[in-house]
């Protein structure tokens, strides 16, 4: 047994370059349950981060009683991380679950039946459509539903109602990944594969604290590091993360300056002649523009802006310029910061310059945050069109109209789809009166919370909230719909690596809770949305119908699912798309042939100017004549719009801890995880703490121009001048509203977004920090992560984070050979186990 709170990544199983990552099956069963007691194991995958680790759920007497990783799956080779082990079922099987719909009566939410709740929604919806038209409706969904549910919502919004106001909190986590790939390659679609970790010589993590955001993927890296020929590691992160501790080069950059650093790396690669001239000539356009844009950015110039030594920048560039196989991963440190798309495109540019794409160990992983974010992007319940279609291409609109048998005029395509921040702005101004929020919690997760709370509380906004629990957001709702959770419904989802998994229903949902798909289908039925020949727009009866409909929609597009069936997904490994006649076992990595989806008739986007977000347009895009070549795109560096000054002298950044997901609606209900990270904190560098008279655990007030939080201070190894707060800590477990000591990191963040991806900035604000109370103990921050304390000399060390009895898992190694692509999915095709 291993304490998987104390040991987040579990026991090492080292392997060497080009080897297969050994299997290790992680398992937890409830107290008092032995393996022989389990009635059945139901196949699923974890929905607590974008890794999507395949698992089996243990069921006994109609309840979920345990979980184990699936050895034969390409993603995790049997492993699970702390969240998967301790929060997947514990996060849904909880007494606080909503069991019946609620409607607001005389200011109070009261229980009612489904018919009452749905009638209230439909009446309001119909009235508004008649009075003010489709632009009065907005839908804000999640990165945590299933593919089938997003697709249903997309069809409802785009073909039923016809509103462009649809987005998800995927906007907060993954919009830049999609945007950067559209700009560089012409369409969304992860170029690389997790198997590239197995073969690389160098691994660059750009703003990606993989050790905490995707713990199982980091286990894979740790096993390479423990092997005989470890890859060199370069980490760009202002915090002293676990990644930084293993790095050969750690660039502890000032928040908001990523693009300056990237310009210097690109410039250095070009200046040293490390680019692959043949690849650049055959597979790219736009090198001259890139060269010109980076010209002023010597390592010294970037060092001055970014606050890191020029020599370290050169070292990082040398590793990029001279390694034979390079993998880069990018996440929120880039996506949620200034000039997000431009900085992330520079990562693509580095790989294009060196031809580091589409071969083993050579790839880019533009990561996602949430487990099913990928599907929202594919299905178009966010600001995209289904199947990575291009809203500016009339033929693509015609295709969708044909698929759905509706008038193409219904499908909103006269302007870019409305992004989340703009949806909330329209709600603030009163032109959106009907807002349906599913499976997400903007009252904690959006920037500048005081403003978001005011919007949600607006009396003339009709707010529907569909969730597992009465979240901070649900407390503002006019109608609350109880949804079925993970393990209580069937559907598919796709991880960051394009691998599609099926999650089968294991148990019944509590009370009257229904699957999100059933709720959306019920709404569509009651609204009587029809096709051109008068039939129902959505005639699906269950998830498999929805999946089959989605397959037709994906046909011929980059995310082609036509070769996948529910049956194929049962028993073996998940399968990476595209999976079709040409690639019957799926596709491990994209662009091996150096042909990119930039054909103007095929591409998902004609692109944008990266400084302003101005659209390029069809004509100008055609004139570039990219025809299958990738595009070097960039923008001039611009300093962040809010920089430290006399009143707010410190830089503020936010993020995750390994033990929690999102706003803790699930992980906060797991005992081992809450014990590991029970309450909010803020991290301050030793130098800053000394100057401000702050010691470990002191209560401090952090103030920005928007608001304040009051939380204990952890004195940590963060870069001096920068403070960090985890974003998980809202108010559901402390009475629902910020009390005297607010804790939500987003009280402080500002309302601003990237001009291209429209992803809000969570990683850059100016704050001031002051002590307001003495410590009563150490800060409630884990010691096992980036928030590890730096003890002042002569003080008692902070006790190490451990899980004890409730956090034990078994780890079984060497049970079977490791799965390998394509055999793992081929066996699925033959109906056998690998």
């Amino acid at each position: 047994m291993v304490d998987r709170i104390a040991n987040i990544w579990g026991t090492r199983t080292p392997y060497s370059r080009d080897g297969l990552w050994p299997v290790r099956v992680d398992q937890v069963l409830d107290d008092g349950i032995a393996e022989g007691d389990v009635d059945r194991w139901v196949q699923s995958a974890c929905v607590l981060c974008s890794n999507g680790c395949a698992c089996d759920i243990a069921v006994k007497d109609g309840a979920m009683v345990g979980i184990r990783g699936r050895a034969q799956d390409l993603v995790n080779h049997g492993r699970l991380g702390p969240k998967g082990l301790f929060a997947s079922r514990q996060g849904v099987s909880h007494k606080d679950r909503l069991r019946s719909p609620l409607v607001r009566e005389n200011g109070q939410l009261v229980e009612c039946d489904w018919d009452t709740a749905m009638r209230r929604i439909v009446d309001r919806s119909r009235d508004l459509l008649a009075e003010r038209g489709p632009l009065s409706h907005g839908f804000y969904t999640s990165g945590q539903l299933f593919l089938e549910e997003y697709y249903a919502l997309a069809v409802i919004g785009k073909a039923g109602i016809g509103t462009p106001h649809m987005d998800g909190n995927t906007r907060l986590c993954t919009a830049t990944a999609a945007a950067a790939m559209k700009e560089s390659f012409g369409a969304d679609g992860q170029p690389g594969s997790y198997t590239d970790i197995d073969s690389c010589d160098a691994l660059f993590l750009f703003g990606h604290n993989m050790a905490e955001t995707q713990t199982v993927l980091w286990s894979r890296v740790l096993d390479r590091i423990a092997g005989p020929d470890r890859p060199r590691i370069v980490c760009v992160d202002p915090r002293n993360t676990e990644v930084a501790r293993h790095a050969d080069v750690h660039l502890a950059i000032r928040p908001g300056t990523n693009l300056a650093l990237m310009h210097a790396l690109v410039r250095e690669v070009l200046a040293q002649g490390w680019e692959d001239a043949g690849y650049v000539r055959d597979h790219t356009v736009g090198l001259d523009g890139l060269r010109k844009a980076v010209e002023p950015w010597t390592a010294e110039a970037a060092a001055a802006v970014c606050g890191v030594p020029a020599a370290d920048i050169r070292d990082a560039a040398r590793i990029f310029g001279t390694s034979d196989r390079i993998v880069s991963t990018v996440l929120q440190g880039f996506y949620q910061s200034s000039q997000a798309t431009a900085a992330s495109c520079q990562v693509n540019n580095l790989h294009l310059l060196r031809g580091m794409l589409g071969a083993p160990g050579r790839g880019v992983l533009q990561m996602n945050g949430q487990p099913t974010a990928q599907n929202n992007r594919e299905c178009g319940a966010d600001g995209d069109l289904p199947g990575f279609r291009n809203w500016e291409n009339p033929d693509h609109i015609q295709e969708l109209a044909g698929l759905w048998n509706v008038d193409p005029m219904t499908i909103p395509h006269w302007a870019p789809p409305t992004h989340a921040m703009q949806i909330f702005r329209y709600a603030e101004q009163g032109s959106i009166d009907f807002l349906w929020i599913s499976a997400t919690n903007p009252a904690v997760s959006m920037p500048e919370l005081p403003r978001i709370r005011d919007i949600l509380a607006k009396p003339d906004l009709f707010l529907v909230v569909q969730d597992l629990y009465l979240t901070e957001t649900a407390q503002y709702a006019d109608v609350v719909l109880p949804a079925a959770g993970w393990g209580e419904k069937t559907g598919t989802f796709t991880n960051v690596n394009r691998i599609v998994h099926l999650s089968d229903k294991a148990v019944d949902p509590p009370g009257e809770a229904r699957s999100d798909l059933d709720i959306f289908l019920d709404y569509a039925r009651r609204m009587e949305f029809t096709t051109l020949n008068g039939g129902p727009l959505l005639d699906w009866t269950g998830p498999e119908d929805a999946f089959e409909a989605w397959k037709s929609c994906s046909r011929g597009r980059p995310c082609d699912y036509t070769g996948i069936t529910y049956d194929r997904l049962r028993g073996g490994s998940g399968i990476p798309w595209p999976c079709n006649e040409d690639n019957p076992n799926g596709t491990d990595r994209l662009y091996g042939d150096g042909v990119f989806p930039t054909d103007p008739d095929y591409c998902e986007s004609y692109g944008h100017d990266l400084l302003t977000g101005a659209t390029v347009g069809a004509q100008a895009f055609r004139a570039q004549d990219a025809g299958g070549r990738a595009l070097f795109k960039t923008a001039p560096f611009h300093p962040p719009h809010e920089e430290p000054d006399e009143d707010y002298p410190l830089r503020y950044t936010t993020g995750r801890t390994a033990y929690h997901f999102h706003t803790r609606t699930k992980t906060g209900r797991s005992r081992p995880l809450t014990d590991a990270a029970p309450r909010a904190w803020v991290e301050v560098a030793r130098e800053d703490a000394d100057r401000l008279g702050i010691s470990e655990g002191d209560l401090v007030r952090v103030t920005s121009r928007r608001g304040r939080i009051e939380v204990p201070a952890r004195v940590s190894g963060i870069a001096p001048g920068t403070v960090f707060a985890p974003f998980h800590y809202g108010y559901w477990d402390t009475g629902g509203r910020p009390g005297v000591h607010p804790t939500a990191a987003n009280e402080l963040t500002l309302t601003e977004w990237d001009p291209v991806s429209k992803q809000p900035l969570f990683k850059n604000a100016a704050v001031t920090v002051e002590k307001i109370g003495d410590a009563t103990g150490p800060a409630p921050a884990p010691t096992t992560t980036a928030s590890r304390p730096t003890a002042a000399p002569g003080t008692t060390p902070v006790p190490a984070t451990a899980g004890g009895d409730g956090a034990q898992a078994t780890e079984t190694t060497d049970t079977e050979p490791a799965p390998r692509f394509p055999d793992a999915s081929k066996n699925a095709l033959d109906g056998g186990r690998p």
Binding site: R132, L135, A415, Q429, G430, I432, T612, G613, A614, W753
Partner: protein, 153 residues
């Protein structure tokens, strides 16, 4: 040679556009994208003025020619409110930027006739940025128009 007249007009137009971008930035602080980008673009216009400086030194800058202005493009004195107000303010910026754009084009014609490589290099850089300013204004207006004209109260 009358190029000095057009250089004067160009300086004036960039100046007016810069001031108007600033005006809109301040007037529409509740639209953060408009607010921040208009400030960035105002700085771009200022820079265009600086880049023009050596050209003006060579050819002169005659902003008081005898030909009186028939069309007055004096820039935005104040900004409007609400969704339609935002749309109209952006539209005014669009008109001002178009004036800048076409003036650059005429200066470029003269520069070509003069075979003045330095002048053409300045035109190249600035006019491309002005074109992007126009495209951004159009992108943002197209986004705002349906809501402002159809759904806003």
């Amino acid at each position: 040679m009358n190029l000095n007249i057009y250089l004067g007009m160009l300086r004036q137009a960039e100046n007016t556009l810069a001031e108007s971008f600033r005006q809109v930035a301040e007037g529409h602080g509740a639209e953060p994208d408009v607010h921040f980008l208009c400030r960035t673009l105002a700085a771009q216009c200022d820079r265009h003025g600086e880049l023009l400086h050596p050209v003006v030194q060579r050819y002169g800058d005659n902003s008081s020619d005898n030909e009186p202005e028939r069309l007055h493009a004096q820039g935005l004195a104040t900004t409007r409110n609400g969704p339609v107000g935002l749309l109209r303010d952006l539209q005014d910026l669009y008109l001002l930027a178009s004036l800048v754009d076409v003036t650059w084009t005429m200066v470029k014609q003269a520069g070509s006739a003069l075979r003045d490589k330095d002048l053409l290099a300045v035109v190249d850089q600035c006019d491309a940025e002005t074109a992007t300013q126009l495209r951004w204004l159009q992108t943002r207006m197209k986004q705002a128009a349906p809501q402002a004209l159809v759904a806003a109260r």
